[in-house]
Symmetry: C2
Subunit: 452 residues, 2 copies
């Protein structure tokens, strides 16, 4: 899988801006750039230095740039790395990359810089994965979870677990060498204690995923309700801006519009949906279909009714909703139009009254959201597993360790015990990348952005 050819990619987000950074890594990174750079001879410069000059394609000036040099192994990838800061024009960036590809560089695959860093031992696999999470982080919670993982918190915990297991594995291997003498170097009582402790630790890690996952990805919330009850207006009120087109025509919202709200450092992803109703309009019909799909992915549904609806109708709607099995929060909108008596009629339903248009009750709704999804008191300095791949590996480890326990209680020969312990070590090793396959790496790094 590992090659040392020179790869190139835009490392800053696409789009025009003051600066764009094009990154190269590989044996020839410096010499390739040197061919098109006027200013200094880059091949005789020191590592960690910056150089101003022109990038020229023959006689044509592509840009005035600053070139940053990192000489192997003192770089992110541990290879020679060059970062070219150019003017942030798409055209310039494209020309620059094309020119260096013409000179012999190759367009980097997604995550290929980080893959090389991992393969060259700069960090382990779960740390590499945290780099992608860190880039995607958009809130205090998701940042802290990713940073903890990237800085090695999770890795160290796994390393601790592995080391204890490895100690016993080697003892049992030793027993195999002396198989004919029937000795026990590994104390079965101690092993049992260790496995039990590991299992409870791993179980905690696995159960941390539910929180880790929503902290990382945000809490998906669907705003549902009949057409024209004010769903888009509520979204606007929550986001405090005119995000969705709001008009008086029922069925205006045709696309599911997604927007995010940060409440106490946690991201709530609000998914506004096409009103649920039968529609002869094919564009809108597609929207309704999508609404049901979206609702099933939500962690919570905000179901919105209109003050003008009858409480009996709301009862029916909530009963329908309950069949989906997803937690919901019922709202009665346009509540400023209700008398106290009319409110009373809704009261049996545990609803929140608000007026999205007048922005009455919106703050109360935010508080209810935090409570409803049970995320008031989160300690992000603890290890929270936030990666589905890690959870899978932990579950596999758990299964293997349970087998070890069974085998201690129902004594088997040392070689069976050794096999199950090795299996557990294998699954733990998958997380940190001690054990990898090309497919696994391909799968992980293909989800990275290009340029990282």
């Amino acid at each position: 899988m590992y090659t040392t050819d020179t790869i190139i990619a835009l490392s800053t987000p696409p789009g025009s801006g003051a600066i764009g950074v094009v990154r190269l890594s590989g044996t020839e990174a410096i010499s390739l750039v040197n061919e098109v750079f006027t200013g200094k001879d880059l091949s005789v410069q020191q590592s960690h230095t910056l150089h101003f000059g022109l990038i020229k394609d023959g006689g044509v000036v592509i840009d005035e740039v600053v070139v940053g040099l990192y000489i192997a192994p003192k770089s992110y990838t541990k290879e020679n790395v060059v970062e070219i800061s150019c003017h942030g024009s798409n055209y310039i960036i494209q020309q620059l990359i094309n020119l260096l590809i013409k000179k012999g560089a190759r367009a980097a695959k997604p995550g290929e810089f980080t893959l090389r860093a991992f393969l060259n031992g700069a960090f382990d696999l779960s740390q590499a994965e945290a780099v992608a999470d860190l880039i995607a982080s958009d809130s205090r919670a998701s940042h802290d979870v990713a940073m903890q993982q990237m800085r090695g918190g999770f890795s160290n915990e796994l390393k601790g677990l592995r080391e204890q297991l490895i100690h016993f594995a080697s003892m049992i291997e030793l027993e195999l060498d002396f198989a004919e003498e029937d000795v026990e170097f590994a104390n079965r009582g101690e092993l049992r204690n260790l496995i039990t402790r590991l299992l409870s630790h791993i179980s905690l890690l696995i159960s941390s995923f539910e929180v880790g996952n929503v902290l990382k990805n945000g809490v998906p919330i669907v705003i549902a309700g009949k057409p024209n009850v004010g769903k888009s207006t509520l979204l606007n009120a929550l986001l405090n801006e005119e995000r969705a087109i709001v008009s008086d025509i029922a069925g205006t919202t045709r696309d599911t519009i997604e927007d995010e709200l940060n409440i106490n450092g946690i991201i709530f992803r609000f998914i506004d949906t096409a009103g649920i109703r039968e529609s002869a309009d094919i564009i809108e019909a597609k929207g309704v279909e999508r609404t049901l799909e979206r609702m099933k992915q939500a962690k919570l549904i905000i179901y919105m009714a209109d003050a003008a609806q009858s409480p009996a109708e709301l009862t029916q709607q909530l009963a329908d909703l309950e069949k989906l099995g997803i937690p919901y929060l019922a709202l009665v909108n346009k509540a400023d139009l209700l008398t106290a008596g009319q409110r009373q009629a809704f009261a049996s339903h545990d609803v929140l009254f608000l007026s999205a248009k007048e922005k009455i009750g919106v703050e109360e709704l935010k508080t209810s959201l935090l409570e409803k999804v049970n995320l008031h008191h989160i300690n992000t300095s603890e290890t929270l597993v936030s990666n589905i791949r890690h959870v899978e590996a932990l579950k596999n480890t758990e299964t293997a360790l349970h087998k070890v326990l069974d085998n201690i209680d129902n004594p088997v020969t040392s070689d069976f015990l050794a096999m199950d312990i090795k299996q557990a070590l294998h699954y733990l090793g998958e997380i940190t990348g001690t054990v990898t396959t090309d497919d696994l790496l391909e799968n992980i790094f293909s989800k990275f952005c290009i340029g990282k």
Copy 2:
């Protein structure tokens, strides 16, 4: 206007990516970053060096970063400059900037880095403006025009013109000192020749704007026609992708969708518009209004008819279009459904036959577009004025120089002549920024992106 306080901004495009670069400039740039950077003491490092470390807010790690140092005056702004390369997460960038603002930096205004570079004499005003054009450049043509201007091509030409005028201005000033002796140090014949040469040069520059402007901004083209003749399909065929939602329902396109096509290095901006028809639907009615607005801004209108329409109807439509006074190109779409005889009936109109859906005739259309807007043979190494402010200043210079000519022909006292020459010098100086006002600078740099 000029201050040396330390400014900060994200210099790469917003959005998540592998790397984000936050830039600081000002007296305290290095010392401020040093307060939150762990790794090395930045205050004792050399200019043009890179340093790896952590940015911490108290105990909280915000990110692992690389810091690039530029010590005044060896920087873009000629002040101390620090560039922090962090992980390209919006959250991290926001935290990083907030932290440094808390430490004493100030959020930079749009273009403030480049403004400082100009005020510190790194380049003249027309070159500063070219920086923004270069960033916005999205084609060979717009890149070459901006690069030529940024590298000083236009500035040198203006400098040449100014120097010749200044020579005569100083001669005439001398005459004023000896006013009582009635001598002529400045030869009126030579002055007349010079002014005539300058005028013809300036007139060339002014007339280059028509080309310079479309090379810079793209050629705006409106695709118009009755609903459902296939305008969105044509746009998709031209762009070779599914850009607009295409459906069989007349009036699907509600927003004007803008997209760009690069033909021979020149950008054509295609503006797809809501079908022109009377509509009871308020959303669509807004679209139709916007269509007419857009048509008036176009350099060319592609008027699209349907093969099923009668040639007589097309005649009427083209007659209506002619009233707008904008060049147009008539297309008959779905032409694959026409017999040769039916084609004949349209032939009196100089129409192009095509089938957008079948992608027949699309390449021919591209060729016709280049011809119709008269941009086959452009030499971008010549100076092309592409900035409306420069054209205004050149026109003012022209007026002042014409006055000088009049005053040579109808002799006036030297002081009048001197005044008009000074006026011409003033307008030329506005372009390069020899003459500026705070309002002018504010106006120019407010159009820059933040971080440049």
